[in-house]
């Protein structure tokens, strides 16, 4: 018998059996602080700038003036709105990677309404845009859902490919609505008359968006937690067999939930066009449809947490833009900072679920 006398492995993993809530929060905060330190070291190593100055530049960049605060909040509402829309789909374990397209389609319809229906009274126009963008987004979500429900197609690929269709459609409409001719952009729609624009409340055009998103956050929380629909979504997400056993019509729940998810993403497109940029281009969604996936998952679909994470990401983005111009770093540097911070936050989940045991460690069963 070959006696294999080997050393004990250097490090081993052990799954934790749950952790008290305050400890989880401590670990997450700790990871954020470590991320900031690492970023600081990196900034210093590469640029010789004082990291603290860079950070304070970021804060001024995001919250320095009223305009900047509102711009950060605008970014946050967009992200949060899409994340809230994605939450029911992902809770059902339906991988809706198609928010980007659903937002764009909602945006196209909104822009179309602003262009063709500007004669309508403002309230009616507002209502038509709202409903129209939601229906458009819902239809964009419906297609992959129907295929999933009927033929069990892969929704990840399907929703992803729908994005490209939406982008092409957007290009088509940009060409059609080109203004001025030859610019290859739609320009600001109704710039003088401002038909279809969100009116300014509390000195800001973004105020209505904020109210809308907060309302959605509350409604989604209630929907997922307390309604029969929410219960069905949880059961289908956990196990389709259990759902069938319980008498839930799995196909219908998938379709219904994706209609909702798509509609809310379409609504985000409405907010982006009528509430913020007043134009439409292929970058109207600007990757937020993907970033929102991170928001939804990090928050584990909890509304309040989604708002917080959206705020963090919006802050990082606005702040990063500022250091790019102020500290003469290009925009990649700011993206690196965002990347490092996200990496640490995501990584902290690992330490919440597992603990490491090093060679020679005598301790057993730490909390």
């Amino acid at each position: 018998m070959a006696g294999a006398v080997k050393k004990e492995p250097f490090v081993r993993l052990a799954k934790r059996d749950g952790m008290p809530g305050f400890k989880k929060i401590t670990i997450r905060l700790l990871s954020l602080i470590i991320a900031l330190i690492v970023c600081g070291l990196l900034i210093f190593a590469i640029t010789k700038l004082n990291p603290l100055e860079v950070y304070s530049t970021m804060i001024t960049g995001a919250f320095g003036t009223k305009t900047r605060i509102w711009s950060t909040i605008k970014e946050m509402t967009m992200l949060a709105c899409i994340a809230i829309g994605l939450a029911p789909a992902f809770k059902m374990r339906f991988w809706n990677i198609g928010a980007e397209g659903q937002v764009l389609i909602g945006g196209i319809v909104t822009a179309g309404c602003m262009i063709y229906l500007k004669a309508l009274p403002p309230v009616a126009l507002f209502a038509v845009m709202l409903v129209g963008s939601m229906i458009a987004g819902a239809l964009w979500g419906l297609l992959p859902a129907v295929f999933k429900a009927k033929w069990n197609t892969n929704e990840t690929l399907f929703t992803l490919m729908m994005n490209y269709v939406a982008i092409q459609l957007t290009s088509f409409f940009v060409a059609k609505w080109e203004n001025p001719y030859g610019s290859n952009t739609v320009g600001i729609i109704n710039q003088k008359t401002q038909e279809g624009w969100f009116p300014a409340v509390m000195e800001s055009r973004y105020f209505i968006s904020v109210v809308l998103v907060l309302l959605l956050a509350v409604l989604m929380f209630v929907y997922l937690k307390f309604t029969k629909h929410g219960y069905e979504i949880s059961v289908v997400g956990e196990s389709e067999n259990t759902a069938r056993y319980a008498g839930i019509s799995v196909g219908w729940v998938i379709i219904r939930t994706m209609l909702l998810s798509g509609a809310l993403c379409g609504l985000a497109g409405f907010m982006a066009v009528a509430g913020a940029s007043h134009t439409i281009s292929t970058s109207t969604a600007g990757g937020r449809g993907f970033t929102a996936i991170i928001v939804a998952w990090l928050a584990k679909f909890d509304s309040a947490t989604m708002l917080l994470i959206s705020l963090l990401l919006a802050f990082l983005q606005s702040g990063a833009g500022e250091i790019a111009s102020k500290c003469k770093l290009n925009s990649y540097a700011s993206e690196m900072i965002t990347g490092i911070i996200l990496f640490f936050i995501l990584g902290s989940e690992f330490f919440i679920n597992y603990r490491l045991i090093f060679r020679g460690a005598k301790e057993k069963g730490e909390g």
């Binding site: 018998m1 799954k15 196990s239």
Partner: protein, 511 residues
């Protein structure tokens, strides 16, 4: 007895808060057949997994052949001559037997498969296996797959074989054949450890029995000095009455009539073929058969979860008004709306019967959450029911909102059975209701089923332990290859007869 070939000293392993093995010190002697006996969750498999390199102990030492070793992965285990056959086979379906035997072995000059086949034939002759090295795994029966797993570890040079619950998937006849092989291996000087919780097998095959209870090592006794009662007491920690009650059938009433039921599974294979039987209120109808012979599809057809072929009929006779309802073609929800009181404890408890991430309370409303017109779920009733079941069935859980996934197997089953019985069924179907449960919980389940029987419920009990089926059930339906090979009286049926009917239909071997 000769010298210890493996010595474990103070071996401890924990998973989170659960202490799976607590300071276990034991010896395995060269050339013996050792039974490792313990209830489910007593840490038998975990302990052996530390010998086979799946887990690494938190602390404690393992000595093999007099030398202290660190077994970090299965390769280290093979280097020590230890090979383990796991309960869930680890084979590549599209490979032949010979390919499976060498897969994962690194060798620079490659393999001559013909030579490997020769080697396999030699091993077969030596120990009395029957195995065609060219046969593909997807063509093999469960017992052939197991044989292949054993050949695999012998080929890799294991002198110490660990078999994890090897008889769980075998018929009585196959079990006998396996035991013959094990005896041959012992004659050849190999050491065999059999993990099991079946007492009569322990007594039939082993030289010595080592007993674990709740992760702790209790003692080892020579088999010739052991009795079923004594072993049970050591295993459970208290005296247990091992007799299952079987009250006389009173007031038998037809509740369910299944006629010419046939269906295909999702792979297009016919899994049920012209199945007909009646189930009566006031009796327990047992269903015996090798696992995967149509039991699952049979129950799911009744529950409205299976597509069936034309010509099939399933009729339900209501206890309230005696009306007949055809169940086929209805969804589970429609069946419920018709007022049919059908309860179903499926085999896959967390994958079908319950939602693992939800607590007891939320699981209580799984089947009737949609009742009423409110768009909101009613959380009060299920909460009360959860507390009731928690108390009545002594479910061990930190709280009714703790995800049921975190409960032990026995407690999960109590939650599921509790909910299904609380729905006051007229027909109660259970699939492998005691699989993986400890003895006390198993007896709780038998008691609950008998209570239902006495209350006039038609109980259908799909089981795998023939001894239990013969003790508990009034009639036993035997399935073989999706067909009914006979319905026997539970009071007079003999085990050999049932075993034969499980593998042959109308005198023909089932392939």
């Amino acid at each position: 007895m000769s010298e210890a070939v493996i010595s474990l000293r103070n071996v401890t392993k924990s998973f989170g808060d659960v202490l799976a093995n607590d300071n276990v010190s034991m010896d395995i002697y060269k050339g013996e057949i050792l039974s490792l006996l313990g209830e489910n969750g007593s840490g038998k498999t975990t302990l052996m997994n530390m010998l086979s390199g799946i887990y690494y102990p938190d602390h404690g030492t393992i000595t093999v052949g007099g030398k202290e070793v660190n077994i970090r992965d299965p390769k280290d285990a093979f280097a020590c001559g230890i090979g383990m056959v796991h309960q869930h086979f680890k084979l590549v379906d599209v490979f032949s037997a010979a390919q499976n035997v060498v897969v994962g072995i690194k060798r620079k000059d490659g393999f001559d498969l013909r030579a490997v086949s020769q080697e396999i034939r030699k091993i077969c002759d030596k120990y009395g296996f029957v195995m065609d090295p060219e046969k593909k795994v997807y063509d093999m029966s469960v017992s052939e797959k197991q044989t292949l797993e054993i050949i695999k570890v012998i080929y890799r040079g294991a002198d110490i074989l660990i078999l994890d619950e090897p008889t769980a998937v075998l018929t009585p006849q196959e079990t006998e054949r396996l035991f013959d092989v094990v005896r041959n291996m012992k004659k050849d000087g190999k050491t065999v450890v059999i993990i099991t919780h079946k007492l009569h097998e322990v007594l039939a095959i082993s030289d010595r029995v080592a007993i674990l209870r709740k992760g702790a090592y209790i003692d080892a006794v020579a088999t010739r000095d052991a009795t079923q009662e004594k072993l049970t007491e050591m295993m459970v920690g208290e005296k247990v009455e091992l007799n299952i009650d079987r009250p006389e059938v009173k007031d038998k009433k037809l509740r369910l009539k299944v006629e010419h039921l046939s269906c295909y599974n999702t792979d297009g294979l016919q899994v049920l073929n012209d199945v007909s039987f009646d189930a009566y209120g006031g009796e327990i109808l047992g269903i015996a058969g090798v696992s995967g012979n149509g039991q699952k599809e049979l129950l799911e057809s009744v529950a409205g979860l299976q597509n069936t072929m034309p010509g099939s009929r399933i009729s339900y006779y209501s206890p309230e008004d005696g009306k007949e309802h055809e169940l086929l073609g209805l969804t589970p929800k429609k069946i419920r709306q018709l007022g049919v009181h059908l309860s179903f404890v499926p085999e896959d408890r967390l994958g079908m019967g319950l939602v693992g991430s939800m607590g007891m309370s939320e699981n209580m409303m799984l089947k009737d959450y949609s009742e009423g017109h409110s768009i909101f779920t009613d959380k009060k009733k299920p909460k009360a029911l959860a507390e009731q079941i928690l108390k009545d069935l002594k479910v061990v859980t930190p709280g009714i909102s703790t995800p049921v996934r975190r409960l032990s197997g026995g407690n999960v089953q109590k939650v599921l059975v509790g909910r299904e019985i609380a729905a006051s069924p007229a027909v109660l179907m259970t699939a492998y209701a005691v699989r993986g449960l400890d003895i006390n919980t198993s007896y709780t389940i038998y008691r609950l089923l008998n209570e239902q029987k006495s209350a006039g419920v038609a109980v259908i009990y799909v089981g795998e332990d023939l001894d239990v089926l013969m003790e508990l059930c009034d009639r036993i339906l035997v399935l073989c290859g999706g067909r009914v090979s006979g319905i026997l009286d539970g009071r007079t049926a003999r085990k050999e007869e049932i075993g034969r009917m499980m593998t042959t239909y109308a005198g023909k071997e089932n392939s």
